[in-house]
Structures are given as C-alpha cells and as structure tokens.
Symmetry: C2
Subunit: 361 residues, 2 copies
C-alpha cells in the first residue's frame, strides 16, 4: 500500500482555498513527509493551487527525487529559507501561510525580508496537524504494526525483569529488540524507572539496579516507516503491600474507564475528566500530575491533546493514548498506557501486552 500523497495534497489545497491562502509553506519535518513522501531530516515544501515545490539542500537532492511525489524538487544553493523566499518573490503569491510554531522568530523575519512587501506572511500553523489527526488506512496499518511490535518486545523483555538488573540495561535491551524485530527506530528514549524513581513521570533509565518490593515503570514505543506507537506497563517485583495493590488497581481501572470513553463524538477533555473522576473515587486524583493522553502517528506526541478542558471532538480515524498515572514522591508510581484507535463503533486497543499480570514474585 502506498501513502495517498495526492489525496492529502488535494485536501490541503481545498483548506488553503477556504482560508484564502495562495500557498502554504510547510516547514515542520513530519508535515513535509506527510505531504510529499520525502523522509530527509531537512527540507521545506511550498504548496499552492497550481504548484508544489520541495526545497532541499544538496545532501538530499537524490533522495528527494527518489522519494517525493507530486512536487518539483529544487536544490537550494543557499539556505533553504532563502531559496523559498526567492521563489516566492518571483511568484504571484500574495498571501502565504506559515507555521508560526515551527518557524523560529529569526527565520520568520528572514523570510519576511526575502519575500519583500508584496507578499504577506500569515500565521497558519496547525493546518496539516489538523489533517493528520485522522489517519488513513495506510497510516493505521503502520501504527498497528508498530503497536504490535512494541507489545511483543515488552513481553520478551519482561522475562529479564528481576532484582539486580539495571534500568539502563533493560532500556538498552528494549531498544535493541525493537530494532532487531523490524522497528526502524524508537519513538522516544525508553523509560525504565524503578522504586522511588517510578514516581518521576519522565525519569530516564538510570544505572539503578532493580530491587525486591518496588514498582518498575516501562514506557516504550517502536517506529515503523515513520509511525509511532506508545505503551506503558508497570510491574511490581516481589509482594505488593496493600498500598501498592490499591494504587495499581486504581490506575488499571482508570485506564479501562478512559479507553471506554474514547469514542467518536466525545470531546478530548471529557475523556480526561472520566479518568480523573475514576481516580478521585480512590482519592488519588491529586497524584495524577499530567494529562490523560495525546495523539500518536508521525509524531509520538501530536494532536489531539486529551487534557483538562480540551474541546477537540474525537473522530473515527484518530489514534490516541490513554495513560493515567499515580505518583507518590518517595514511594513510587504506576502508569498504564495504551495506544488506541478510534473506530466508527468505538475504541480499538492496538497495544496488546496484558495488564493483569503485573506482579513478578
């Protein structure tokens, strides 16, 4: 299956028309890939009603010509932004949309200077990110594969989880096995955090050794053809006491409730509220210090955000995480996270590692 590049370009063109923009300058790299198929680490695309140009530096000319579809590849002899500016200056474009959260202040001003006065730069960030929320079947297939691989590798690595293993070594094994099994990369630096460190929601894996009677949080994700998955599991080494059991059960239940809430038509903020209510019933909501989830796709954190008050409606084709956590400073933390696709009839959990099986005696 090939990425429907021409469909995406056509959709974007109609969005531009509706916004009365002559061109959109695409500078955020995942958006460049999404709209052209080019996978280099640097490049800018200009898309207008009658034309589409991909600007790359000489390192990437061959690769761009090989990968990009529906665009004319132009090798920039100077800085990319200057090439874009020069092109726009000699074009008929008057209203050009730019992504003000991807372009730096310095670059924006350089572009303004290069295009001259006749051409107006307008903030139009988020257009492509909005399109990307709805995954096409090509994308869904890749995320599904990334999620499956992530789950398989976690099941594999679970066997290495024992007192004396270091967080760092487990993280290294996770990444190695993801790649050996076909991931082109990892969606983010794998987290392995044990004992009191599991109370740090974004701890990195450290040289700490695992011990009996502590939680261990694993947060990992594969990338396949640019598409990410994201999954967290928490294990307990030894025999959990009442408090540990209570926390795990609360997070487990909150996640289940959250997943059920992920349906077409629901607002993102409502999913977050559902999860918080579930934790509040156990008086643990104050220890849930981040938002409930985020979109997953070409980026491991993308639109929509599932946080307090987020108004975005969830549609079929969205892929999001649900990831409640409870973090008790000095004691430890629990987080459970799945990547979930929203189908017409409701949620489909893509990451499949069991969650009931959390105690390693």
């Amino acid at each position: 299956m090939e990425a429907p590049i021409s469909t995406r370009q056509a959709r974007l063109r109609s969005l531009l028309k509706a916004r009365k923009l002559d061109h959109l300058l695409i500078t955020h790299i995942p958006n460049v890939y999404y709209l052209t198929g080019f996978r280099g680490s640097a490049g800018m695309a200009l898309l207008g009603e009658g034309d589409a140009v991909l600007f790359v530096d000489p390192r990437y000319t061959l690769q761009a010509k090989d990968q990009a579809r529906g665009v004319e590849v132009t090798e920039a002899k100077q800085r990319l932004i200057e090439a874009v500016g020069g092109w726009l200056k000699t074009s008929k474009a008057k209203e050009v949309g730019c992504d003000d959260s991807s372009l730096s202040y310095a670059t924006w001003r350089a572009l303004q200077q290069a295009v001259g006065r006749r051409c107006r730069l307008r903030s139009a960030g988020g257009l492509v990110e909005g399109m990307r929320m709805v995954k096409d079947p090509f994308e869904l297939g890749l995320i599904r594969r990334a999620a499956l691989l992530t789950s398989e590798v976690f099941e594999d690595v679970r066997r290495l989880v024992k007192p004396g293993a270091s967080e760092m070594d487990l993280a290294t094994e996770i990444e190695y096995r993801l790649k050996r099994k076909g991931a082109e990369g990892v969606a983010f630096e794998s987290i392995v955090a044990s004992g009191p460190r599991s109370a740090l929601p974004h701890a990195r894996a450290s040289s700490k050794l695992l011990k009996k009677n502590e939680f261990v949080i694993f947060d990992l994700g594969a990338i396949i053809s640019g598409y990410a998955a994201d999954m967290t599991r928490t294990l307990y080494l030894g025999t959990p006491d009442t408090r540990a059991r209570r926390i795990y059960q609360a997070v487990f239940d909150a996640e289940k409730t959250g997943i059920k809430a992920v349906r077409p038509g629901t607002r993102a903020g409502a999913v977050d509220a559902t999860v918080r209510r579930s934790l509040a019933r156990r008086r643990l909501d104050e220890y849930f210090t981040h938002s409930t989830g985020h979109g997953v796709g070409l980026e491991v954190h993308e639109k929509p955000r599932l946080g307090r008050g987020d108004k975005q409606r969830l549609d079929p084709g969205f892929v999001v995480t649900v990831e409640p956590g409870v973090y008790l400073e000095g004691f430890g933390g629990v987080r459970v996270e799945d990547t979930v696709a929203i189908g017409k009839d409701g949620p489909e959990v893509l990451t499949s590692s069991p969650k009931e099986d959390w105690i390693i005696p």
Copy 2:
C-alpha cells in the same frame, strides 16, 4: 569532577553586562543544561545580574531541584512561556535577551504579549553557543570518553562486516554495543550505507544487504553525560579497483591535511579551503558536497561551522570534526571523519579507529 556551573553563570553575567541586557532567557535545552545542570527535556531559565530562575513543568520539579545549581526552581502552573512572562512582568527587567533561533515566532509573540510594553525583548541568540565553543576540562573529559567508546565499538562491529549482513542490522549492533559499553545514548541515528547508497551523504541504514566489491560508510557517535562524539569510517568489501583506491586515498589524504590545519588562530574557513584544495589536486573537489566540519559537544552539530568562508577563529578548547567526503552518484562514496580537540599546540584526534585498514578482502 563537577560541571563548573557557577563559573559559566558568572561568565554569562559579564556578557550580559557588556550587552546592556538585564536578563537572558535561555530556551534552547542544551543551553539550559549547560548553565544550570538540569537535564530534563523541557525547561526555560532566566539569568540576570542578581537572580537566576529555572522554570519547569510539574513533571520535572523533583528532578530540577535535584540537578540544578545556582538557580531557583519554579514550577510553572501554566505554559512555561507564560510563567516566564509573568515573572518578567513583575520584575524590574527592561531589556531581555531572547534566542530568536530557538524561540518560535508564535512563542516570541506570546512572550511579548505577556511581558507588556515596559519590557523589551531583544534578539540575543548565540551568546551561550559562543561560550560553549570553548570546552572546559570537565567537558573535554566527557567528549574524550565518548570518542574512545565510539572508536572501540566500531572496532568491535568491524568484525561483523561481511557480505550478506544488512545495513540496518549493523546499525542496530552499533547502537546496542555503544549502550552496553556505557553510552547513555547515540549522538544521532547511526549511518550504515553501502554500494551506491554510500553516495548519499546522509543515507539512513536500510534493509540492503552488503555485497562484495562495494564501499560501506559507517557514521556513528556515543553520548556520555550529554556530550557527543562523531566519527565516520569507510570500508571496502572485496578488492577495490583503481578508481575505488584513488577515491579512498584522496579522502584519506584530505582528512589528514585538514586535521593538521586545525590549529589555534586558524580561521574555520581556512580549514575547509585546505581540504578542498587537497581534493582538487585529484580533481575530486566537485564531488565534496558538504562542509568540512562542525563543533561537537552538547550537540553533535554546534558552533563553529567549518565551511566555505567561515570567519570564526579556532581557539584552544574547541572540539570540531574534520570530515571530507567524495560522492559519485551510482558508484559510491567515501567519507572519513574524526572528532578533534584543539590544544594550545595543535590538534588532538580523539577518535582513534585506524583508517589505513579499510579493505576487508
């Protein structure tokens, strides 16, 4: 040995004074780490004559309090930039330097709005990057270790280079072994590019299998405590013909000449010119399509750039790469790269894998 955070902050304060800035807003993450010791993935620091504040979101409060030195840690309840804006608004700061290449246009405008009219934002990017060009002994020690580890792992992986091995598998082995031997991460996705793919200067490792009678380029680097190394070696599988030998020898010689030119007082552009002249003597300069090198430290690409016409003078304490390459479309390419520290008396090559030993019969 500890990072000399207070010395760095003092140096920056004197730079601010010279520029008549009340505060500098530090938003580029490697700069935040350099000036505070905080290693989270999100945070902003404000440094002024009499104060220093580190703004982090709730995820990072504990970690920031543990790691940061010489700053007051402030937990932002809203977006970081809003917390910074609020702080500035109630302070006496009038002239605030901001990094216009790290702040997005959208964020810059949000900050402008938050600080109000009394406070002026001024472009002051590059100040910290300028300081970072000269490595202190703490930094040099870490880069030296990263370089050594990079070389050791390459020597290890060299034994796996044979027909039938895939580029991707070799890249995975490189990353696995770097981490197993103590790297906290890789400085960039390792490149393994063979045959015609070696003519793509920034090819990613693919599923292609290595064959007899082709070049294989390896570009890799370890990170240790945040500090990177960067090394490229090219091998030939089989028996190189006259053309392959001629290209390898030309790049090998150009690199040697380049390393010799890396001395205190020389301009960066002069090193680049030396390397190009060396290739020109073999009429291969037109196939050298990128610049000769770049600084290495907290980022794998940092100041200075060693390219055409770059005026920056090289000083003792700089660490740079020298990396000529020759790329023949359809045939293959050769690149040889070392990380080189500039001492008072001249260059010290930190990456130690042999370059003479390039043929695997």
